[in-house]
Symmetry: C2
Subunit: 307 residues, 2 copies
């Protein structure tokens, strides 16, 4: 039997009593985006005022998203379109994390990267100087299953990066599978393993966890995960902001990625119920991840501090 | 720590000394097809003569395949086209197993089945009287990811059956995912979980294990597996042939499906090296599944018995 992970104490509802303590004890707030800052293309009520207030009090703000479909620059544009001023440096997307993982591991520039995922991953990889194959371009490709047909792949591919891909097909699955199965040195990198996500306002859709599992299933290999709950991105953050983890608070809407990431890194954690997690699932006996605090939405913090 | 499964004794090379003992001790031979009987569309050397010999000696022959793309009838046609006479009743495909699983579990006829997989699954389900959605027909469907778009699904779907699907796409992933996530009663059935298979003569391609993992990844559920190494099909076999498992020999080319199936059921086991398993992978210290015997190909049995 594996020892179950520590459950910790039950989360406290954020209140006027504990909000000031949380506020005073941290120098940086780390935010997940979807379900915390926005839902789909709509800003969540009170977010803008809350971020302005935190900045005015000298708190650092960082945005950490597992959504790999956009690059940092594309996220920066999205923030602007919603009326929020951020700098690209404050944004840590799992597409950026994938590029950084290759960079810090000295992945050679003469090797190529095969991408199952969106334009955001390609953009980040190109910014670091890597040559990519796959991505949206392979979304319309089909396979020839005639018995004597050979599926060719580029033997210089040294890494396969898999993220959310709404244009997943058998061509991409075979390409990624051959790269990994026929070359034991080939890296298998997952931007994240979220089971589902709000691809549209009204519904959840299969997330990167679905495509990553498909490749893990065909290759019988486990990926290196660079997005939350992996703390890979934390090193970049620490380097950039020079703040210790206990002086950070991770704010997110998912227990198994955001809150687990915060706890893994030794940050304080605040769950907001404005995204995928309901109060009943937080309080369900089967839930093993307890944040320090929870509240309905991010702006509750502002309101409680003003009381 | 989980206890590792029993490894058993190392496999014996089939020889003129032990072949007669194996032959005398069994009344039925169970064969995997791809890699044992044929490779792609080519019969493996000596198979026809060997099957004729076994039949002439009164042995029962059964063909058990994890490949769900064909129905029993379609397999029967394939055998005939290769010049081998079998009856449909001797063929147990994982497409048939999926239909039988629903039948023996009294799956209601007024519920529908959503299929991610090939025509063979649809055929078998229809033979038992079920109404199917999905399958090849959904292979060209696309999704609308506009933020206010709602993806509709039939709420009367009570089971999702997943097999090998070369036309996998995001539409099918979302359909299957919604059926399972939005209805806790919905069954999730995998025809099999083979990582790869010889979709063409020259190469391996992602197998049902890839599509099954994709749905397991998005639904956070584990499937019921009806193909090998699950022994679900064995009950039908026992009922039909009235032979005890120790008087059967499973012949296959895969350790993790065929040989494990035979061992799980308590049959004797013979690995042939004419398919996906090499001698070095059989003898690799990491291999935990040892057949009783191994030989290069099925017809070795005939040759050794004649010596």
């Amino acid at each position: 039997m594996e020892t179950p992970p520590e459950t910790g104490e039950a989360a406290e509802l954020l209140s006027s009593n504990n909000a000031i303590g949380l506020f005073d004890s941290v120098d940086a707030f780390l935010f997940d985006c979807d379900g915390v800052i926005w839902r789909g293309d709509t800003l969540i009520d009170g977010v803008s005022k809350t971020l302005d207030f935190l900045r005015s009090k000298g708190k650092k703000l960082v945005f950490i998203t597992n959504n790999s479909t956009k690059s940092r620059k594309q996220y920066w544009k999205k923030f602007r379109s919603l009326g929020i001023e951020v700098s690209e440096d404050e944004i840590f997307s799992s597409s950026f994390a994938a590029a950084m993982y290759l960079k810090v591991n000295n992945f050679p520039q003469d090797k190529k990267v095969y991408v199952i995922g969106g334009e955001g991953i390609l953009e980040e990889l190109k910014l670091v100087g890597y040559t990519c194959l796959g991505g949206p371009e392979d979304g319309k490709k089909t396979v020839d299953l005639q018995s004597d047909c050979l599926f060719e792949h580029d033997k210089t591919v040294g890494a396969v990066v898999v993220g959310l891909d709404p244009y997943i097909n058998y061509y991409k699955l075979q390409y990624g599978t051959l790269c990994i199965r026929e070359n034991p040195q080939c890296l298998f990198i997952a931007t994240n393993c979220d089971a589902v996500g709000h691809m549209t306002n009204l519904q959840e859709w299969p997330g990167a966890g679905s495509m990553v599992a498909a490749i893990a299933g065909s290759t019988e290999k486990k990926p290196v995960v660079v997005g939350k709950p992996s703390t890979f991105m934390m090193d970049f953050l620490l380097h950039k902001f020079n703040i210790r983890c206990p002086r950070m608070c991770m704010v997110g809407d998912r227990l198994d990625t955001d809150i687990l990431f915060g706890k893994n890194a030794g940050c304080k954690t605040l769950l907001v119920l404005s995204g995928v997690t309901s109060l009943s699932s937080l309080q369900d006996p089967s839930n093993r991840v307890q944040p320090d605090y929870y509240s309905n939405k991010l702006s509750d913090l502002l309101q409680l501090l003003a009381e």
